[in-house]
């Protein structure tokens, strides 16, 4: 490598745009082609995409005039609402699809980790899949051989190495898949929500590995996640993507604060409530969220609370398929992305959650929160087994009013929470 390399940004994205078709892909079948040739119009209803409406009918810009320059060794966290264009951007950088306009320059070997286990073949053994997956991710045979033992050890699958992976538990499968990917040594690594794997212990291990890779070797990482806590603790810079463009770029805390303060309220624009139509709701094939609401002690929907009063968080959702060992989680983050605490309804659920509509309510008692901005985000998992729905939409709220601490000075009180503690002051008599 020449000296030029160390000076020029490792990734340069210049005026990149990507246009997608929307609605029915009518022209992708011969039937559609015939209909069009006969002059019959597609009857895709027009969607209101605002500024992102494409220049051709039935298209929209997923990424529009995007610019970003990244230096070697940066860990970039990409945040933004669903559909903002984060994943499209990663797809463009990883060359899975190509831009409609603009140029991306990559000055280093790139590997993407858009989903762990890509290309795993169920009939092949763990050993065979390590080589297959490694090769698909762009590793040379000797590289895989050199790292083989490390990968096996990391994945903790030792004695199952020569068993077809179709007989693996889902936990083992995911561990093996992540282990291969984690031992890639590209100069640029793209990661999309990969931390939605395995149990908490393994996740911790993965976070550690990522940090390790980034620190030790100065690799550049692009990290897309809804987990603001992970973005905050791992990334050196965060980029907020809104409507397909880079809205803001800077220290993760600042960008997260800005993001949470501008998160659209949705559901008619009521502060303190997010409600989704079936089409746009955060969902998997097992579960669909319906609404997330904050109410105060008087039962009013609100995004403004008194520190001395309780905050009620109501999550409504529809279970579409039985979920074994599932639970809902509601995480409370501070506005700069620090995790304050998590609550769950685990003990209240049956061993298998049967399909139907549910409402989980947690009440944060008064005298717990600090006077500052927060956001709540729901998620669902089956502990020790898998993630079902990762944290997605953030609902921001602000706590003010009576402070829970006893400071007289009107300062900004530090801490993610500020529980009302019992404080006692005594003068100790001078015993001699």
């Amino acid at each position: 490598m020449t000296a030029v390399h160390t000076q020029r940004p490792i990734v340069e994205i210049q005026d990149v745009s990507k246009r997608y078709r929307i609605g029915s892909q009518d022209s992708s079948t011969l039937g559609g082609l015939l209909r069009r040739a006969l002059g019959r119009r597609d009857t895709t209803p027009a969607m209101d995409l605002g500024a992102r409406t494409g220049d051709l009918p039935g298209t929209f810009w997923s990424i529009r005039d995007f610019n970003l320059s990244v230096e070697r060794g940066e860990i970039i966290g990409l945040i933004g609402r669903n559909g903002a264009g984060k994943s499209t951007l990663l797809k463009l950088i990883s060359r899975i699809t190509e831009p409609t306009k603009g140029t991306i320059r990559l000055r280093g070997r790139i590997a993407s980790l858009l989903e762990v286990g890509t290309g795993f073949h169920p009939e092949l053994t763990g050993r065979e899949n390590i080589f297959l997956n490694g090769a698909i991710l762009g590793m040379k045979r000797w590289e895989i051989q050199a790292k083989f033992d490390e990968i096996v050890e990391f994945a903790e699958v030792g004695s199952f190495l020569d068993t077809p992976v179709k007989r693996y538990s889902s936990g083992m499968f995911v561990r093996l898949a992540f282990a291969v990917a984690a031992h890639l040594e590209p100069e640029i690594l793209l990661i999309d929500e990969v931390l939605a794997v395995g149990d908490a212990g393994f996740q911790q291990k993965c976070l550690g590995k990522m940090n390790d890779v980034a620190n030790r070797t100065g690799r550049t990482i692009f990290f897309v996640s809804h987990n603001l806590g992970a973005i905050r603790s791992l990334c050196t810079r965060a980029v907020l993507i809104e409507d397909g463009t880079a809205k803001m770029s800077g220290p993760p805390e600042d960008v997260i604060t800005h993001y949470l303060s501008t998160t659209q309220t949705g559901g008619g624009g009521v502060p303190g409530r997010l409600a989704w139509s079936d089409a746009e709701a955060p969902a998997t094939n097992e579960l669909r969220l319906q609404s997330l609401t904050l109410t105060n002690v008087r039962g009013e929907v609100s995004a403004l609370f008194d520190a001395a009063e309780p905050v009620r968080v109501e999550l409504c959702y529809r279970v579409l398929q039985p979920i074994r060992g599932g639970r809902m989680l509601i995480a409370v983050y501070t506005s700069d992305g620090e995790l304050a605490f998590v609550a769950t309804d685990h003990q209240l659920h049956e061993a298998v959650i049967s399909p139907g509509d549910y409402r989980t309510t947690i009440t944060i008692p008064g005298g717990i929160l600090n006077r500052r901005a927060y956001a709540v985000t729901p998620s669902c998992d089956a502990p020790g087994h898998r993630h079902i729905l990762t944290s997605g939409p953030y609902l921001p709220f602000t706590v003010g009013g009576t402070p829970n601490h006893l400071s007289q000075f009107p300062e900004r009180w530090p801490g993610a929470v500020c529980p009302r503690v019992e404080t006692k002051l005594e003068a100790i008599p001078n015993a001699k």
Binding site: E98, R105, S112, I136, G138
Partner: protein, 295 residues
């Protein structure tokens, strides 16, 4: 609609430039070479995965053409009365099925490249050409197995006094199979590229292959086609026709061409195959750039 391509800048191997362009036939040979390990592993996977799923395992590579030869001998030669001359009909058909099943296997697997791998292509980049190339190499192993069966039948018939013999020309089978490989890769890439655009074409592929099989002298001698008043042009137009007939000439008649014009026909076939490959690669390249947006 603008298409896109990626290329590596010539002066600097570490710089990858991703931008839309209108390249027609741009193959990044160096990148393909970089991914040779993937090619090797995919070949292995295709082969292993195919037989691990079944009880009889690799035997299927053998049983299928054997049954086809048997069924077609009954249908075409015994009932239909198609005369295979001095050559027993089973070995006649089995021999022609060597290039034909290799060809049809390649076309079937190659044509489904985008549809069968959409989950993979949507997640990670590698030169897509590796997948159909790997498939046609792993199909070569099936061809080798089939060849062993053919040899067994050949020996049986030769010892029972059938008028069949091989000579030094048997070595010609290698370029002939390579020609089949090139042709089938080209055809499958063309089909893969068009199914990427028009998905319903995938329903036509099996029909097309069947039609093609009957338009090739697999179960009847090429002389029948050559002397047919309205179908003699097929000997020249169908690149598989001379390949199938030549395979039989080489393996059963010691290399004596049944048709005097065979060398010219083979040259035509080879030229067609090369054209098909060039157009196939170009179409495939165009399709692979944005195929994940629509499949």
């Amino acid at each position: 609609m603008p298409d896109a391509s990626s290329k590596e800048s010539p002066q600097n191997g570490y710089e990858i430039i991703i931008q839309p362009s209108r390249g027609w036939l741009r193959i990044n040979w160096r990148e393909l070479w970089e991914y040779r390990d993937l090619l090797r592993i995919l070949v292995r996977r295709d082969f292993l995965a195919k037989y691990k799923q079944t009880v009889l395992g690799p035997l299927w590579f053998v049983i299928q053409p054997l049954l086809t030869a048997l069924v077609m001998s009954i249908a075409f030669n015994r009932i239909g009365g198609v005369d295979t001359g001095r050559i027993p009909d089973i070995i006649f058909n089995l021999c022609a099925l060597l290039p034909w099943s290799y060809f049809s296997q390649n076309v079937t697997t190659g044509a489904a490249t985008f549809t069968a791998n959409s989950h993979l292509f949507g997640k990670v980049y590698f030169p897509r050409l590796v997948v159909p190339a790997a498939a046609s190499i792993s199909n070569m192993f099936a061809l080798a197995l089939q060849f062993i069966v053919f040899v067994a039948f050949y020996l049986y018939y030769a010892f029972s006094g059938a008028d069949i013999h091989m000579g030094a020309s048997v070595l010609l089978i290698i370029p002939l199979m390579l020609l089949t490989g090139i042709l089938s890769l080209g055809v499958s890439l063309l089909i893969a590229a068009s199914t990427a655009k028009y998905r319903d074409l995938s329903h036509l592929t099996p029909v097309l292959l069947q039609l093609w099989m009957f338009a090739s002298p697999v179960f009847y001698p090429m002389a029948k086609m050559e002397h047919h008043p309205s179908f003699s042009w097929l000997c020249w137009a169908n690149p598989m026709a001379p390949i199938v007939e030549a395979t039989r000439d080489i393996l059963l008649s010691g290399g004596a061409w049944a048709t005097p014009q065979m060398p010219q026909m083979l040259v035509t076939s080879a030229l067609t195959a090369i054209l098909a490959l060039i157009f196939g690669v170009a179409a495939f390249n165009r399709a692979e750039r944005t195929v994940v947006d629509s499949v």
